[in-house]
């Protein structure tokens, strides 16, 4: 599913690891900077100085832009800051990828979105007003929850979570983990990768594979 072959980028040198399909994986970096670089490389925003990164068996820097865009439709990336589009309202942000790729209009996903958001602890009564705000009015952790819902709507084969539980209360963290675990198990072969610098912030996350950064650029 994910394969790093001798990748050198930022602080990392000769990074080599593999995450198989169907795995729940934790990648623990030493600091936020390393985490950020790793997520940017996985998302294809930063090109490594050396080595290959394979997603679904395809070298993300060895394929055309069109092929890369098609590949990323199979990935749900939840950015630490949310990565919501600032000039779109929250509900437009949530519906955007599904509307763009599959032509499903925003009003048709309302029920599913409402269910997930109430499950995450949002007040069902005030939800209509809430999702009509611009993302700039929301704190980072709420933007991240919206990005989670946005990513899940696309039913991706690979979910990547960047510091998913940061700044969440214990109760909401528990609900998020429950939801992502359920989502992971819903489809055989779905892969979930949690990336963050502080393992203690996500003690309840049970993973099949834990990769830890050890020293300068080694993850094993």
């Amino acid at each position: 599913m994910i394969r790093f072959e001798d990748v050198s980028v930022g602080p990392f040198r000769g990074l080599t690891f593999q995450i198989e399909a169907g795995t729940v994986c934790k990648i623990v970096t030493e600091a936020a900077y390393e985490k950020q670089i790793l997520v940017q490389v996985l998302a294809g925003h930063v090109k490594p100085d050396k080595g290959r990164i394979l997603l679904f068996g395809r070298d993300i820097w060895g394929i055309s832009e069109l092929e890369a865009l098609e590949l990323y439709q199979r990935v749900g990336l939840v950015h630490g800051e949310g990565g919501l589009i600032s000039n779109l309202k929250v509900w437009e942000n949530i519906a955007l990828p599904l509307w763009y790729h599959k032509g499903v209009p925003p009003e048709e996903v309302g029920r599913q979105v409402a269910d997930w958001l109430t499950h995450l602890g949002f007040d069902a009564e005030g939800l209509a007003d809430y999702v009509h705000q611009l993302p700039g009015n929301l704190p980072a952790h709420e933007r991240r929850l919206m990005a989670l819902v946005r990513a899940m709507l696309m039913e991706p084969e690979l979910m990547i979570f960047e510091e998913m539980l940061k700044q969440l209360t214990a109760e909401v963290s528990k609900r998020v983990l429950g939801l992502t675990r359920e989502f992971h198990a819903a489809v055989a072969g779905r892969t979930s990768v949690y990336v963050g610098p502080d393992e203690q912030a996500w003690p309840d996350l049970e993973a099949d594979l834990v990769l830890r950064q050890k020293g300068r650029g080694v993850i094993s």
């Binding site: 294809g44 865009l69 439709q73 950015h79 600032s86 763009y100």
Partner: protein, 256 residues
Amino acid sequence: MISTQKIGEKTIGAWTHTVGVFGLLWIAALHLRALHIAPVRQVLYRQIYFSGIEALSKVTLIAALIGIVIITQVSNFVGLHSPLVQRMLVWTTIREMGPLISAIFIIARSSTAVTSELAAMKVSGEIGALRSMGIDPLGYLIMPRVLGVTVSVFFLTFYFQFAAIFGGLALSSVLLDTPLIQHFKNVFEALSFGEVGVSAVKALIFGLLISATSCYHGQRVQHSITEIPQTTTAAVMQSLFFIFIFDGLITVVSFL
């Protein structure tokens, strides 16, 4: 003292930006097929709304005032009863003022907004986030903005011309105490298809250049928020250069 090296660097920079702007126009044309995607059309409609429709009230005021100024100035030289007054109003607004002032208005109002918005989206990682959802930023962000601003400049130019002529003629009508319809008749007599055609060509080219320049500079920033005002200023200056150069070129060619 300006060194030769500095002049060389500036020339190469200007050339690079010019090639970049025309390259972006080409890329935007290649992405026109993305218009079949509903959210892309939504971005286009919003751009036309912000750049075109929301600008109408201010354009009306500015155009009418310019029409009044032209009538006042010309009638001061040739007398209010001279048919030259209406002809001068038509010639100046259709040939020059309409396309040029509409373009400057869009540069001040929309070009700055487009450049700073795209630059802010790039710095905050929103463009990267779009790509990581499999959404092509060129098709979703750039192409509809180029098209939306171009359409807005095109129609605002004709609207400006109408409002300026109407404002000037309304003043003439009041001062001469003659019916407004009579003045419009004189205007239509002074108009030719050639003049309207040249005006349309200018509006179209200005629209394409302003929109592409704004988008080019908007997506040129890297990581720092301090680049946003710098790139916005660069977009404004380059857009102004482009429209004055092309205005001169088209005007000269149209009289050959």
